[in-house]
């Protein structure tokens, strides 16, 4: 390893340094910028959806300029609405919620926090980013091919996704591109996961025992293990689905289907097989999105509570328990699918078990705040917001995880509200907390505090205004993925809720402009950051902001302390860097 350090020099050319870079920090930023582009598109798509839901017949000539073909006539057609549903979900789940917290922050800070000079496999790391980017571009291309983007949802249930254009618009070339995009993403995530795991296990610096790892590293590490085991299953499923579509195989298509008056030649496939493969990946994916957010929240809470994280070992155990159980609960997406009702009972019990480690984390976060000295910085506000939203979104899982209650709730807005809060918004709050927290390290400047706080208030209130009423839609029986309420007498009275949610969504989306403005303005104009502006303890705060190419220079850091030594009685400062001499604890 020391040899590798010796040859670790910054490349001279712009292209090798910033474009095809093997530096984990540049790659981390590339992932972050990709996620920012993706989230912008994802939010815009959701605004189109919200407008359609609130005012289904309204014409939007200005908005139609972005999608001249799909919105010919200026209205959002039901089929275009479903394309928006599909693309919003796919972009957000893969290219935002997986890309930013793991690919972005994980790449940038995991090597630094373990005291390494780079990832274990820098070239693989670069490849992983570029394959992800290719996947993203292929996905976007689906909007522009004949038939448009697929209408089968981000879950792409077969046979709807398997039998081609006769089943509906966008299910021809658009669906093919969707599958290729997801397959590329799977490959990229595999490469990334190998890197994270190897780096954590092999490149820890002297003194950085596993029990001294920051909880962020534990979260990224576990997430990478999940990705390593989950993405290959989706990749296999995607390949089989593509074969069903283009090579005439019948993995997911049973015999005797009649679509648009045409008898299909397929024989012997099982639509439920796709659901098993998809959710075997899909449920761990929820934890892939949220675990890094849990890690960041723990990290930020401890920093600004000025207290050691409460129950470090319990937190690590809970991360592991969530990761393990996360692989055993996929069937709760399939209670009413026609799957055996006996396995539904097993999946239900396992699902409610996963609530236990999640509750442990919440208790430990609250216990961390007990008798703290809380600093209300912007990252801390988002971490506190994360705890609040995690509780709210998690508790409704206790309803959905019960077989009998899932009968009325399945595939309604109750589910939409639940997973947006727990995996979407909570994860996004983790990303925001991470961005405000690490921005000074990444760019050497502080983000604007007042703008950041305004961004927090509007987002926190807006998110609740959007998603709490959404539960009520589901309780009233409103199925998800409906382009309007007009078709059913029992849905029509719910329309005012849709209007309210849309207004809340417009305000919340507008508030995100504050974030983007603050981000880019601060890169150039922000106040200069010190090495350790938050007076935090972990290794990234021992090196310059932004860190040099090889992070620590020729001298590898030596770690003497755990990651969260705040307010140690008798110590000179209220924080002890992990690299501080052993005597710092006593002084």
């Amino acid at each position: 390893m020391t040899q590798a350090v010796a040859t670790h020099e910054a490349p001279k050319s712009f292209i090798r340094r910033y474009i095809f870079s093997t530096d984990h920090k540049v790659i981390g930023l590339q992932y972050l910028f990709l996620a920012m582009a993706a989230v912008t598109i994802g939010i815009v798509l959701s605004i189109y959806m919200r407008l359609r839901l609130a005012w289904p017949t309204e014409r939007w000539p200005l908005l139609a300029k972005l999608f001249p073909q799909a919105m010919a006539g200026g209205t959002i057609s039901p089929e275009f609405y479903l394309s928006l549903v599909t693309m919003h979900g796919t972009i957000m789940v893969f290219f935002v919620l997986t890309t930013a917290p793991l690919g972005g922050f994980g790449n940038y800070f995991l090597p630094i926090q373990v005291g390494a000079h780079d990832m274990a496999f820098p070239v693989l790391n670069m490849l992983s980013f570029w394959v992800t980017l290719a996947g993203f571009l292929v996905l976007l291309a689906a909007f522009f091919v004949s038939g448009g983007a697929p209408i089968s949802g981000w879950t792409a249930y077969a046979p709807l996704s398997a039998v081609g254009e006769i089943a509906g618009p966008g299910l021809g070339m658009g669906q093919n591109l969707w599958i290729v995009s997801i397959a590329l993403f799977c490959i990229a995530s595999l490469l990334g996961a190998l890197n994270f795991i190897t780096t954590t296990l092999n490149l820890r610096t002297k003194g950085m025992s596993m029990t001294r790892l920051p909880l962020t590293v534990w979260a990224w590490f576990t997430t990478a293990v999940l990705a390593l085991l989950a993405f290959p299953v989706l990749l296999a499923g995607g390949i089989l689905l593509l074969l069903d579509r283009v090579a005439g195989t019948s993995f997911f298509v049973p015999a005797g289907l009649i679509v648009s008056d045409k008898i299909l030649p397929h024989k012997g496939g099982s639509p439920l097989l796709w659901q098993h493969l998809f959710w075997f990946f899909g449920h761990p994916e929820v934890y892939i999105a949220i675990l890094p957010g849990m890690g960041i929240t723990s990290h930020v809470l401890s920093t600004f509570a000025r207290k050691p994280i409460f129950g470090y070992r319990a937190m690590v155990a809970a991360i592991f328990a969530i990761g393990l159980l996360g692989f055993l609960v996929w069937g709760h997406h399939m209670f009413v699918s026609g799957m055996s009702p006996y396995s539904a009972i097993a999946f239900s019990l396992l699902t409610l078990s996963i609530g236990v480690p999640s509750a442990i984390k919440t208790f430990n976060w609250l216990a961390t705040l007990y008798k703290a000295q809380i600093r209300f910085t912007v990252p801390m506000l988002f971490a506190l917001g994360f705890v609040s939203i995690f509780v709210t979104g998690g508790l409704s899982g206790i309803i959905l995880g019960q077989t009998s209650l899932d009968i009325p709730m399945h595939d309604t807005y109750f589910v939409v509200a639940h997973f947006h809060l727990i995996m979407g918004v909570a994860a996004i709050f983790g990303i925001f907390a991470g961005t405000y927290y690490w921005f000074p390290k990444m760019f050497g400047r502080m983000m604007n505090d007042a703008l950041g706080k305004l961004h927090f208030w509007l987002t926190f209130i807006g998110i609740y205004a959007i998603f709490i009423p959404m539960h009520i839609l589901g309780i009233a029986g409103h199925p998800r993925r409906y382009a309007e309420t007009a078709g059913f007498d029992f849905l029509a009275p719910l329309q005012p809720i849709h209007v309210f949610i849309t207004i809340a969504a417009l305000v919340t989306a507008a508030a995100q402009v504050l974030f983007f403005f603050n981000f880019f303005w601060s890169i150039w104009k922000g106040r200069r950051a010190e090495i350790n502006p938050w007076r935090a303890t972990t290794l990234e705060w021992t090196i310059p902001s932004p860190p040099p190419h090889d992070n620590f220079g020729p001298q590898a850091p030596v770690v003497h302390h755990g990651p969260y030594e705040y307010s140690v009685p008798g110590a000179a400062e209220d924080y002890i860097l992990q690299t501080a001499p052993p005597t710092a604890m006593k002084s």
């Binding site: 479903l82 209408i151 089968s152 949802g153 249930y157 709807l160 039998v163 089943a167 509906g168 618009p169 015999a255 005797g256 009649i258 008898i263 496939g269 099982s270 000025r306 207290k307 050691p308 129950g311 470090y312 009413v336 026609g338 009702p341 539904a344 699902t351 236990v356 509750a359 442990i360 208790f363 609250l366 705040l369 007990y370 008798k371 000295q373 809380i374 209300f376 506190l384 609040s388 509780v391 508790l395 206790i398 309803i399 077989t403 009998s404 209650l405 009968i407 009325p408 595939d411 706080k453 208030w457 709490i468 009423p469 009520i472 839609l473 309780i475 199925p479 409906y482 029992f490 705040y566």
Partner: protein, 263 residues
């Protein structure tokens, strides 16, 4: 800052409780025999998670105010408490798993038991944006069907009339009638993609999967007309895939069936 955040968290918590407790919009009244048991389990669960929700958010808000920074005073320093961890792990495990076990009762009754003998059989065949309903007719037997004979104009399920059992089958489109207070055994099929049979007042939802015949059973105990919605994304008119369910007194149901048979 701490005060403002705590107040907002409390205000949101209060608004949420009011929205759920006020029931301004809520479940439609249950009309099935098992419906009230689902509703009771829902209310039990909602009450428990509601209490957990209020306690957690109230505590969060309280800690935010109480433990906001005060001068240069240091925070307390401790790392863990095994007793606390064991306590809250045990409590949540007991509560969550008890709910999971309780939640299985209705499920077991609906899905682990076969449809009771003597139940009225109705076959529901979903296709893109239509519900085809078939009754076995006076002989009580569903006749043979063949995919090649399917014709949306006059033979939507592909009845094979060379089979005598098929000749008295009664087929309707989007119109399903059932007698009140009698067990109903629905055989769910699909011709094309996955759909989901969803009647909110029945508290019954089940996917219709091509290639499978899925059996469900229920008993409606109130008469009236209700809507059948599709709950699984099935294509561009998913949101308009609407059928009607009439729950009729037995004599009216028989009359309805006779009238359909004569058409």
């Amino acid at each position: 800052m701490g005060f403002a955040l705590a107040l907002i968290i409390w205000a949101i918590t209060l608004a949420t409780v009011v929205l759920f407790a006020g029931r301004f919009w809520w479940f439609p009244e249950a009309i099935s025999e098992h419906g009230p048991s689902i509703d009771r389990q829902f209310m039990l669960t909602l009450t428990i998670i509601g209490i957990a929700f209020v306690l957690a958010q109230a505590t969060l808000g309280f800690f935010i105010i109480r433990y906001r920074r005060r001068g240069e005073e240091r925070a307390s320093y401790w790392h863990e408490s095994r007793r606390l961890e064991i306590l809250w792990t045990t409590v949540t495990a007991v509560v969550f798993l008890s709910l999971a076990v309780l939640g299985q009762r209705v499920w077991a009754k609906l899905h682990l038991n076969a449809p009771p003998p003597g139940a009225l059989q109705v076959e529901v065949t979903a296709q893109q944006f239509v519900w085809n309903i078939r009754y076995p007719g006076p002989d009580g037997k569903f006749g043979r069907t063949r995919t090649e004979l399917i014709n949306d104009v006059d033979n939507p399920v592909g009845l094979d009339f060379t089979d005598p059992a098929a000749r008295d089958d009664i087929v309707t489109v989007n119109q399903m009638a059932i007698p009140v207070n009698r067990d109903i055994h629905v055989i769910l099929r699909s011709k094309d993609v996955i759909h989901s049979f969803w009647v909110p007042p029945l508290r019954m939802k089940q996917d219709a999967v091509p290639g499978l015949a899925i059996n469900i059973h229920f008993k409606a105990v109130k008469t009236g007309q209700f809507e059948i919605a599709c709950a699984e994304l099935c294509g561009l008119s998913h949101h308009r895939m609407r059928g009607f369910l009439s729950v009729l007194p037995e004599p009216e149901f028989e009359a309805w069936l006779r009238q359909r048979a004569s058409q």
